[in-house]
Symmetry: C2
Subunit: 231 residues, 2 copies
DNA sequence: TCGGAAACTTGACATTTATCAAGTGGCAGA
DNA sequence: TCTGCCACTTGATAAATGTCAAGTTTCCGA
């Protein structure tokens, strides 16, 4: 495990306040692995062997049932995933696969749990992390239950615009995945984009241009209690 | 704050392993309040003054957006709600109202946060609680995104059957709320019940009878990764 | 006991969303 | 460069879900 990665991990809020000895103990059992595109990392139903940390690349969290599949979230550097399953030692609720070439740190679950029992700062940092995750999923549920698919798309575009600080930006994922993430079919996503044309959304391949922010905002009615992922 | 309630709270996993002095400190600031039916307890967007614990009765957690409303969960004794907002000191994402006459313990948020900083066992218990909540919401999202409304109803009925240990049972909430919880309109719920008739679901007012468990199970295809709320 | 309100149901209809099939266009590998 | 694959789009159609209006039932309070 190279020094540089270890420092990067140390900077994550989750590990920042740990005692040195515990952090080093965690890192001793850790290892880094490189994965090509579209590799399954974990499968829902299995029990967690490792806590994963994405250092480079990106990972799709998805779920399946009865032959159907839906994308639940995208994990980007630098952050962890499947923390709750690891801590509870309960089966994964989601599967994970790389979206591109990715570098991932694997921390043995048992180490994470045993150090969680000993390091108080670590335990508190995990509370913060889990609260954040919990609130993100609640927001997502509200998005799904309270909005139509076109409204979800409109608000998604506004969130992206804010992240990019620009009215013109590229989608960060394939449209088919975006459709799945937003809870619709790819065909329906195409039509939803068309439906936003009157509100000043211009689409050219992956490039999005918002020509009338006020108009789109008026339609989308974004709310911090659904769309602000930072609180 | 009567002794009996304090003991009841002490028995909750979240408080069971706290140090006596901290637990007593928490209880000193706590007070119990009785509420009639259909009283708003909290409103989404506000910042948390109290961590709530339902001792008797039941509470509806719901959310609104753009004039629409959806039921997110029901809280029954003895358990807490809005833990994540309290710990993060972030705005409530959901509103809460009593569904019936309810007795509720209120713990000042600041006390909870300050004791969370000091009591390590409490911090760890909160991790367990939050993991549980997080996983419950993830399961709910999978239910919503992967299943049709009729499938959601079928699985809901199977979960209720298991909770009640009986093929005949009464719905524990109004149908209009059940509809909202399952993400559909009351009219659609009526039709979904009709649609389950061929699979042996008999409805008489609030009373449900499952006459052919195998048939219903074959249709519903329940999965522990969605329907098992205990893991 | 008798209203009357509210929950629930039902039917007709509208809207939203999904499915299927065909076509377009871009891109990577031979 | 060519070719074939795959994502994406589009149109036609079907299915799921929501809306509206009217009726029925239930239950509570006068």
């Amino acid at each position: 495990m190279p020094e540089s990665h270890s420092k990067e991990i140390r900077n994550l809020a989750m590990f920042a306040d740990m005692e040195d000895s515990y952090f080093e103990a965690l890192m001793r059992g850790a290892y880094v692995q490189n994965f090509p595109t579209r590799i399954d990392l974990i499968t829902e139903g299995e029990t967690p062997d490792f806590l994963h940390i994405v250092i480079e690349g990106s990972v799709d969290l998805f779920s399946t049932w009865n032959g159907r599949e839906t994308s639940m979230a995208t994990v980007r550097p630098v952050s962890t995933f499947i923390l709750a399953a690891t801590i509870k030692n309960a089966p994964y609720l989601m599967s994970a696969r790389t979206l591109e070439k990715s570098r991932i740190v694997l921390l043995p679950s048992e180490d994470v749990r045993s150090i969680f029992e000993k390091d108080n700062a670590f335990a508190r940092a995990i509370v913060t992390e889990l609260s954040q995750c919990y609130r993100a999923v609640v927001k997502n549920t509200k998005d799904l239950k309270l909005r139509t698919s076109r409204e979800r798309l409109a608000n998604y575009l506004l969130r992206q615009r804010n992240r990019m600080h620009s009215d013109t930006f590229d989608l960060t994922m394939e449209k088919r995945r975006l459709a799945s993430f937003l809870g619709m079919t790819p065909e329906n996503l195409s039509r939803a984009f068309k439906g936003l044309d009157p509100y000043g959304v211009k689409v050219n391949g992956n490039q999005i241009q918002i020509t009338d922010l006020d108009d789109l905002t008026h339609f989308a009615k974004p709310s911090p209690l659904i769309d602000d992922y930072s609180s």
